[in-house]
């Protein structure tokens, strides 16, 4: 084999354990971005990740940093508890739309309200995955799930735009919505995540990155069709972009 340079390899931020996600679930990509960001910013050793409850509940085994598993919806509170006593640590919570947008929305809002120096990795796949495909607060109108069998209607409530909502919280420092539906967007998503972790590292307050993600099994699609559906149906309702950047204008 002629001399070569490694262009891509598995991140040290990930543990050696295979993740338990369904084939093609983009949770896996998002995990890689979290791990790669922490390694590249040299923050991994000081990091404590907070797993929530959902498909990603088991990810305390998938990252190679210290981890705590939090009750459903309470990860931002657990993160607050840690960061206050260990201000030198780097904290991320990893939460799905059921965990954050439904049962844990108060904890998310109030962590932003207090401008806690934590980073929330919010994975929006418009469904409860772990429990078998129920409707979540970000399920789209018309989207069929096991608890909106005929498609979501207004009576089920109109889907919540979390990034926009969180951006209205005065204490929030940086809020961006990103996607991982192709290599270019994966690169942009990683940039957003690294910015969030850097803002946290500089103690400039609360950061949340919302990832549009997929659920091939519960959406009843192949992995690639699921990615396409996310692009065609979710992104129009959940536009990508920066919704708040309180660090704008500061010299780098």
């Amino acid at each position: 084999m002629p001399k070569s340079k490694t262009v891509y390899k598995r991140s040290e931020g990930l543990s050696l354990m295979d993740n338990s996600y369904c084939p093609g679930c983009t949770h896996g990509i998002i995990h890689k971005l979290v791990a790669e960001s922490l390694v590249e910013l040299e923050l991994l050793e000081r990091t404590i990740g907070i797993s929530s409850v959902g498909c990603s509940a088991l990810n305390y085994d998938f990252f190679s940093c210290d981890m705590q598993q939090a009750p459903h919806g309470r990860a931002p509170a657990v993160a607050t508890g840690i960061k206050r006593v260990r201000p030198n640590s780097i904290i991320f919570t990893y939460q799905g739309d059921g965990d954050l947008a439904s049962i844990g929305i108060a904890e998310a809002i109030h962590a932003a309200h207090r401008s806690e120096n934590i980073t929330i990795v919010f994975v929006n796949n418009a469904i409860y995955g772990m429990t078998g495909g129920q409707m979540s607060p970000t399920t789209l109108l018309g989207q069929k799930t096991t608890t909106s069998p005929d498609g979501r209607t207004k009576a089920h409530g109109l889907p919540l735009r979390i990034a926009e909502m969180m951006a209205t919280i005065p204490g929030a420092t940086y809020i961006e919505r990103v996607s991982v539906h192709n290599p270019q967007h994966v690169a942009k998503a990683k940039k957003a995540l690294k910015k969030a972790f850097s803002i946290q590292n500089d103690n400039k307050g609360f950061t949340l990155i919302e990832f549009i993600s997929t659920c091939p099994v519960n959406w009843g699609m192949t992995p690639k069709d699921a990615v396409d559906w996310a692009v065609d149906s979710m992104i129009p309702y959940y536009p990508l972009g920066v919704f708040k950047d309180a660090t704008e204008g500061e010299e780098k």
């Binding site: 000081r46 190679s64 705590q68 598993q69 607050t80 840690i82």
Partner: protein, 356 residues
């Protein structure tokens, strides 16, 4: 030993600071508000953490996080607030996390009232959350005892790696009494918290704080490991006080403020030539059943007195194993029984009017 006149809630707050509490996370609820109010000033003065959270649910989860990172964490609340914390408390027991929870009980159920009550005994001693777990639960009867037990409670929590509850009621929270913070309290053999997920991994593998075990065999092993802790609590760490029980013909069983009041009843009865004693549980979990085996044959009746409709009563029946007739007297709604009420109840029992 300098004594200072303080309100119960504030004395308990200062006791936590003296115990090396690193962080307090709480939420307003009567009748414990002076505790977080005091800490909102004094934690900062001592370079420690104070957070008023958005709810009791958030508060207990902050305690979970801080404890998981190796800190000494405290929360306080009252009855309905403690009800909201139950899931978090169960997670702490499941993840083997230390922590101290002060419960200044008030009337229930539901919004209930803000006057004193002992109506949460079962929630405290049976574990109000899901799964097989218990809290080492201490029930002081005075501000001084509350201060001393709180100072010790952080050691107990760290020793067992399990939450500890301080169960008081509104009386103790709101009452003022002279207290000293200089009493020597028992020191427990504590291990360094090498298990903590505190993000400084300079020389160790990663740590995980978790209570999820999908493999039943693993969860069974874990459950049995937790059970062993509770068995040690039951075997070696029951705490109680036996008052005036020698040759007593009747014994009162009461804890916390109710025991304080019963002390006066015992004095009144003594003046009437009646030998009445008391078993005063200090731990309500583990319930001090050993005390009952120390009762002499002279004791013909037991009178349980609570500010509830009878909850510790059940533990007394279990401990008594049908040895003696058991009577009950309680006031609820926030009404605190007078010493004379207890006296007249005893007289009825001795006079054979109240057959259990």
């Amino acid at each position: 030993m300098a004594k200072v006149l303080m309100k119960g809630n504030e004395a308990m707050a200062l006791a936590a600071i003296k115990a090396g509490c690193d962080a307090f996370y709480g939420y307003p609820i009567t009748p414990q508000n002076e505790l977080p109010e005091y800490l909102s000033k004094h934690m900062a003065l001592n370079g420690r953490v104070f957070v008023q959270s958005e709810s009791e649910v958030a508060a207990i989860n902050m305690v979970y996080g801080a404890a998981g990172a190796g800190a000494r964490a405290l929360t306080s609340s009252s009855s309905p607030g403690i009800a909201l914390k139950q899931e978090g408390i169960s997670y702490m027991a499941g993840a083997e996390l230390p922590g101290v929870i002060i419960n200044v009980m008030r009337g229930g159920p539901g919004l209930g009232g803000i006057q004193p009550s002992q109506g949460d005994y079962k929630q405290i001693t049976r574990g109000g959350g899901n799964g097989d777990y218990y809290l080492y639960s201490l029930a002081p009867e005075s501000l001084q005892e509350a201060v001393d037990l709180i100072k010790e409670s952080f050691d107990i929590a760290d020793y067992f790696r399990n939450p500890v509850m301080i169960a008081v009621d509104g009386l103790i929270g709101q009452m003022m009494e002279p207290v000293t913070f200089d009493n020597e309290t028992p020191k427990w053999e504590l291990e360094p918290k090498t298990w903590a997920a505190d993000g400084n991994r300079s020389n160790r593998e990663k740590n995980i704080i978790n209570s999820l075990y999908l493999d039943p065999l693993m969860l069974e092993k874990h459950n049995l490991k937790l059970k062993a802790k509770y068995d040690v609590m039951r075997d070696k760490h029951q705490r109680y006080e036996m008052i005036n029980v020698k040759d007593a013909e009747i014994v009162i069983v009461a804890y916390g403020s109710m025991a304080r009041i019963a002390r006066t009843s015992i004095e009144i009865l003594a003046e009437k030539g009646i030998k009445c004693g008391m078993i005063r549980p200090i731990t309500i979990f583990p319930f001090p059943d050993k005390a009952f085996r120390k009762l002499q044959d002279s004791v013909k009746n037991i009178l349980v007195v609570e500010m509830s409709t009878g909850q510790m009563l059940e533990d007394v029946k279990i401990a008594n194993e049908c040895e003696r007739p058991i009577h009950f007297y309680g006031r609820v709604g926030g009404i605190v029984p007078e010493a004379e009420e207890v006296v007249s109840q005893v007289l009825k029992i001795i006079g054979g009017e109240d057959n259990a």
